[in-house]
Every structure is written in C-alpha cells, then in structure tokens.
C-alpha cells in the first residue's frame, strides 16, 4: 500500500473483500489511487482485477471493506455505503467507463452515443451534440459522427467509446481492457489519444489490463493475484 497523503488521494480501498458464491474474488485489498495518476491494475485471468474495478467504481458493493472517493470540490464519500441510486448518480457525474467491447448502442449514431451521458445528466441536445462532435474530432473521428457503430472499424468504435466516457469530463476514468480486442497499431492509437486527453484534463485513470505494453502507458502498476494486491503474479502451481 502506498503512503500518499490523504489530500492527494482520490480513491482508496481498505480491506476490500468480495465473493461470488464460494469463490473469493477479493481477499482483503488495500489500495490508494492518487488524483491525476494513471494506474494500471494487472493480473492473470480470474485474479480479481475486474471485480476490484467494479467495487472501486461503485458498480458492485463489496461484501466487506470500504471504498472512499474524495472529489476535488467536496466531502469524501464512502461509495461502498451509498444507496444504489446515489451510486448511479455518482457514476454518471463523476466517473467514466470504457470496456473491452465499446458497448455502444448499435442503433444510435456515433455522435448520439457520445451525447447520451450528457443528455442523461440534463444537458440540452444542441450543446451535447456540439461537445460530442468536438471530442470526436479530437479523437481523429472527424466527419464520422453520423455513422452507426456497425459502420466503424474496431479502433474507431473504441475511440467513440472513449469519447462517450470522457464527454462528461469525469474525475475518474475506469477502463477495463480498453484495447483488448484491437490489433497492436489500433490499440496504440486508441491509448495514445485517450492518454493525451486524460493527461490534459488531469483525469485519474484506473486501467485494467493483462497486457504489459498497455500498462506501459500508465504511471504505476499494481498486480492483483488471487484476490490480493502484490508486486508480482506469484501464482504457484
């Protein structure tokens, strides 16, 4: 566990435990994430890294332990104790998400997919579309806003997913294997553009990956193995 001062820490987990039936996915995780840092969480398949992300982001409520979020302009929130509706609101306003398969809505255009989180949080349609188009342009998708996800390449669709995650200017971006389905050039392109935007905005990034070249874009990595944070895999067989 790091020894960062509280004032620097945007997210912290203490003694986090979570099980799925008889399987213990998290077995006592302590982790501090510094505001503005890009943290890679690595580990082999089934190590618990995605469960950790879901607990940190308030998607899952841990069986035990706490997750505390310290927004820059507010009081610390113990996410793990919030109601489902409060967690949903927090995810919409303060967090952004990118997954391995963009999970774009297939019947909506790229621009509408990106606008959606803004519309859900009350932004007027014209303003939402303007902001979405601006962000799509920054991600090298000029002129593709009207395309449906099915009409885009994998790399383009993933950049739309990045735009959707960043359009609300979240404090924390959670990215779960964001380039896991892409070839190495497309992956590099998505990561470079994504990291350029988040570093410019000072967004904190929690990046789940099993890929070392992806993790090399981070400022720091931790390795989860057998549901605990270690420095290496140390899975013995």
């Amino acid at each position: 566990m790091s020894t960062l001062r509280n004032v620097d820490i945007i997210l912290s987990a203490r003694s986090l435990r979570h099980s799925f039936g008889q399987t213990e996915a998290l077995r006592g995780i302590d982790l501090d994430i510094k505001a503005g840092e890009v943290l890679a969480i690595m580990g082999p398949s089934g190590s618990g890294k995605s469960t950790l992300l879901h607990c940190l982001a308030g998607v899952l409520t841990p069986d035990a332990g706490t997750v505390t979020y310290r927004p820059a302009d507010g009081q610390p929130l113990v996410i793990s104790s919030l109601s489902e509706s409060n967690r949903s609101r927090l995810r919409l306003t303060d967090f952004g998400f990118v997954f391995q398969f963009g999970q774009l809505l297939p019947e909506l255009s790229a621009a509408d997919n990106v606008s959606l989180p803004l519309l859900l949080s009350g932004t007027k349609r014209r303003e939402a579309l303007h902001k979405s188009t601006e962000l799509l342009d920054r991600l090298g998708l000029q002129g593709l806003g009207a395309k449906l996800p099915g009409e885009l390449s994998g790399g383009q669709a993933q950049r739309v997913a990045v735009a959707r995650a960043l359009v609300t200017s979240p404090a924390v971006l959670f990215a779960d294997e964001p380039t896991g389905a892409l070839d190495s050039l497309a992956s590099e392109n998505v990561l470079t553009l994504m990291l350029e935007l988040v570093r410019e905005a000072g967004t904190t990034v929690v990046l789940i990956t099993h890929d070392a070249r992806t993790a090399a874009y981070s400022d720091r990595e931790v390795v989860v193995r057998d549901g605990v944070v270690g420095t290496g895999y140390r899975v013995t067989a």
């Binding site: 070249r213 090399a216 874009y217 290496g232 895999y233 140390r234 013995t236």
Partner: protein, 175 residues
C-alpha cells in the same frame, strides 16, 4: 547487431566518406549509442583488406576522413548474404535470468522476489520506451517498438515461470 555489415550495407547505397558513414549509422541505428570514429575507420580498413570495399583516392589534406570508399562486387554479395541469412534468436537475458532462478531455488532462496524485481525493471524500461515514442519520428518509434516487443516476451516468460516455481523447485530438489 553487426556493425561492420551494417556499415557495409550503408556503403552499398552510394560511395561515402568515413565521416558521413558514421553520421548515417548514428542517424539510423545509433539511438542511445553513437558509433566511435575509431571503430568506423578500423572497420573500413578491415573491409579494404578483405576487398569488400575500395578507396576511391584521397583528397589533399590527409586524415582518414578525406578518403571516399565504394563497395565492391564481393561486398555487395556479402551484404545480400547477410540480409537474407536469418539470425539465431538471442536468448541471453533469458539464460541469465533462468540461471538465477534455478540457483535461487536450489539455494531455497526467494525466486519469486527475484522474478518480481526483474519484472519491475522490465516495466520501468517499457514505460521509458513508451515515453520515448511520443513525438518521435517513425524510425525511432520502430526502434522503441522493437525493444518493447522483446521486453514483453521476457515478461511473458517471467509470468510463465512464476506460475511454475513450486513444480520447478520440486523437480530440482528431486534430481
């Protein structure tokens, strides 16, 4: 990397002075480690002796950098032979790390820690290379990528071995 053959390859583009050749080499291949002038001139002298190149005459003023060299037919053949002969995959780091891992296990020492330490070192170098790629031209991006892919392969070996330490230890102690 074979410096002599790389220099010979550059010379096959066009006749060149030793001075220019050294700068061409550094531009394409010298990232982080420029070639010494002394090494260029001694290599050129060896290649003249071996009739792979010949001097085109000396301009007034003396000094080794006043000579222009051109590749011979034998030199051109040598370059083509080099280009299309596959290299033996290098395993030097892995061999060293493998030896350390085996010794640590034989000594009942912490092989896990040893691999973790190496893993952190690898990740740190990967970060450095990834940073170097930002705003670099394609030539240097590809040099960094070459390093990144190799380090990644080493890391895979480290993870793979990490997962089999208990079994390896058992085998070593029962041998």
């Amino acid at each position: 990397m074979n410096n002599s053959l790389t220099l010979l390859g550059l010379l096959s583009l066009e006749p060149s002075y030793g001075y220019d050749l050294k700068h061409s080499y550094d531009r394409y291949f010298g990232s982080g480690k420029a070639l010494a002038f002394g090494q260029v001139y001694s290599t050129l002298a060896r290649m003249v002796r071996d009739e792979l190149i010949r001097a085109l005459g000396e301009e007034t003023g003396g000094g080794p950098d006043r000579k222009k060299y051109e590749i011979t037919l034998a030199g051109q053949n040598k370059v083509r032979e080099w280009l299309f002969t596959p290299d033996v995959p290098s395993g030097s780091l892995q061999s060293e790390l493998f030896a350390k891992t085996v010794i640590a296990l034989l000594l009942d020492d912490d092989a896990d820690r040893l691999l973790d330490v190496q893993r952190r070192e690898h990740m740190s170098r990967m970060r450095e290379l990834t940073r170097m790629k930002q705003d670099a031209d394609l030539l240097h991006v590809l040099v960094c990528d070459h390093g990144l892919f190799h380090i990644e392969a080493d890391l895979r070996w480290i993870d793979h071995t990490s997962a089999r330490l208990t079994r390896l230890k058992k085998e070593l102690h029962s041998a």
